[in-house]
Symmetry: C2
Subunit: 386 residues, 2 copies
């Protein structure tokens, strides 16, 4: 049964077309990583003693002391007094993030007509919120408007701002360049770079649905090992996190679920095709569908949309073995028969291993998801925390 192989042309290395973007790692990068580890722990677990930090990160107490000293010098961390409670040994001094010492600016560009912004603390708590009508501005004008808006928010912050996070519709690459956002007339706009220059602050830009997923992951307690956030508004978008990382996709366009055909020979869609998910699941479409119906009929109509959604989600849930699907949008339309029918349909159409563990629930952060996610963009980019 053994075959000696001679002369057979075996799989030959062929240069893989894509990028293999591995970069060198220096000791100082290790340092940055470990520093983030400490901040990450303090962020999620709250005040902790140096010794406990050492145990949690498996670094030594010496190293932790050193890192904490640096973080304290930067004003990011402070001592909070000894840990209460009686135990043996020297009492532990708690250290915690100075969450109120710095702030972040978050901006949500999802809405066509209003730019929504906020100043937030490092824990994602809102300090102030500000909206600005777009008045039809697009392209360069909109960038200028956005610049002024951000300047205003930075000025309004009561503490030093460590960065600006922006959730934008459209395709956004990893450098924060908006590859295309038709409604804004943005094509290849280096938004992050431009604003970073103009504001003199770190600016992070990502797709709005992706940003929402990040927000739910960090603040909504969602499972990062397999999470899809479906944003339902004027349109339908999705952001996906798998194995703890945002899914970007080949052309940074991952999450474009709104324009998948779900109804054969369905209604025409703004994109020029027919029967897209958006034609049945967007808020306007749903309002139209239930308009004038009594409760029972409306519920049936919503359940029908839910089943359609379930059919489209089933292959995705199955392929990615998702743990959770979160729906973000008006609860009166989404959080009832629609959501339940979607879950049921996905369960029916997938293996028990896949479907039984799945949750389909409403996003917990509601209208602030994108703002929260935008804040996480900054926390993650500047502090390595998420």
């Amino acid at each position: 049964m053994t075959t000696a192989v001679t002369g057979r042309e075996a799989p030959r290395r062929r240069l893989s077309a894509g990028l293999r973007p591995t970069a060198k790692v220096l000791p100082e990068h290790a340092r940055a990583h470990n520093r983030s580890l400490v901040l990450q722990h303090l962020f999620h677990e709250g005040p902790t003693s140096r010794a406990d930090l050492a145990r949690a990160t498996s670094l030594t107490r010496v190293t932790i002391s050193d890192l904490v000293a640096v973080l304290m010098a930067e004003g990011l961390v402070e001592e909070l007094g000894v840990r209460p409670g009686q135990r043996v040994g020297k009492p532990a001094m708690l250290v915690g993030m100075r969450t109120s010492a710095y702030q972040v600016v978050a901006v949500d560009l999802t809405d066509d007509e209003v730019v929504r912004g906020a100043v937030m603390t490092l824990t994602g708590d809102l300090v102030l919120r500000r909206d600005l009508p777009v008045d039809g501005r697009t392209g360069t004008e909109l960038v200028d408007l956005l610049t002024r808006f951000c300047r205003g928010l930075v000025a309004a912050a009561s503490q030093p701002v460590i960065g600006v996070g922006i959730g934008s519709p459209g395709v956004v690459d990893s450098a924060g360049r908006v590859v295309e956002a038709p409604n804004r007339r943005w094509y290849d706009v280096p938004l992050a770079e431009t604003l970073t220059d103009r504001l003199g602050l770190a600016v992070h830009v990502a797709n709005d649905a992706n940003t929402a997923a990040l927000g739910e992951f960090t603040f909504g307690g969602a499972s990062g090992s397999g999470l899809l956030v479906l944003t339902v508004g004027e349109g339908v978008g999705a952001g996906i996190m798998v194995d703890g990382a945002r899914v970007r996709g080949h052309g940074d366009a991952a999450g474009e679920l709104g324009h998948v055909t779900v109804v054969d020979h369905g209604d025409p869609c703004a994109c020029g095709r027919r029967g897209c998910l958006e034609t049945v699941l967007s808020v306007p479409a749903l309002r139209r569908a239930v308009d004038g119906l009594d409760t029972e009929a409306a519920d049936a109509a919503l359940a029908s949309v839910g089943r359609t959604l379930g059919v489209a989600l089933a292959p995705v849930v199955s392929a990615l073995n998702l743990a959770e699907v979160l729906i973000s949008g008006p609860a009166d339309l989404l959080d009832g028969p629609l959501r339940e029918a979607a879950l049921e349909t996905v369960r029916e159409r997938t293996m028990p291993v896949i479907g039984s563990g799945l949750q389909v629930r409403m996003a917990t952060l509601d209208e602030d998801v994108v703002l929260a996610g935008a804040a996480v963009l900054v926390l993650s980019g500047q502090l390595g925390v998420s």
Copy 2:
């Protein structure tokens, strides 16, 4: 338009349920990373001078010289004489991987009745191939059989073996534990650990479809930024790579596309439900579907299955913004009307941004995909090369 927010309960940190598995990084890990960087370059680009390695990795020539010295001492790398051709300056000494100095053992457990194995060089070239009938063995007996089989392959290798890679059906976690593989009667079997102990060699185990994806990515020249490999045999499986990484999923069950419902009220499936993709796309199902038909009718039947596949793929392709879908299996059934109909259907049902760049082609490595991928498991696990 500014709102001061007081007392509003803002998004509050909630411990994210999942794992946040970030581990500390030490300088020596940086070293290991940079070492892999060198091997990676030599693996993909072939013999290279130290100076060019320095430029490619952006490490200094000093560091590269040091790393190369270590790798040479380990016998992984060798000097290959000066680079031919006239140029100014001191002639460069080429160094290359000693690809024939070590070998790897690869095993493919996809088939229910035959264990397929091979000894391969570090570049994935086949040295010898060996098959062994399973004779109905399952559970512990199968593990024992597999142990003997691997021992035999290791003994048959003509060079020292750096590790064993195994592609297994079923759900396999990141530690190489087979969570469940019903046909093998394996439930929670720590396959990698057991074999590592018994063989005294590094053993890496992963799901077979995932392994196939890895093989295509490394040896097939597929785009790692968005790749789905569909393996069509007795059953249907899928392996996905996004943003350069394998997708594992919440319960390590990513890629379970075979049991997504694609035909309402369809034929009963072995899994107990109806209309699963496997009921129309598996090799037996396809053979049945075209049996006795003339060419034209057979083509029509295959195209119909292709359209069904396209409908199921469209949401996945769209959600992940995939660049390529590779189909692995019998070309006479798959590489014709079926494949073309699938591509066309996905294009019809997704946005141009998503569909126009998509390729749907046959896997280039054919029946050896899983073996090649198993080799990559070892290369990647032991040398950091993929």
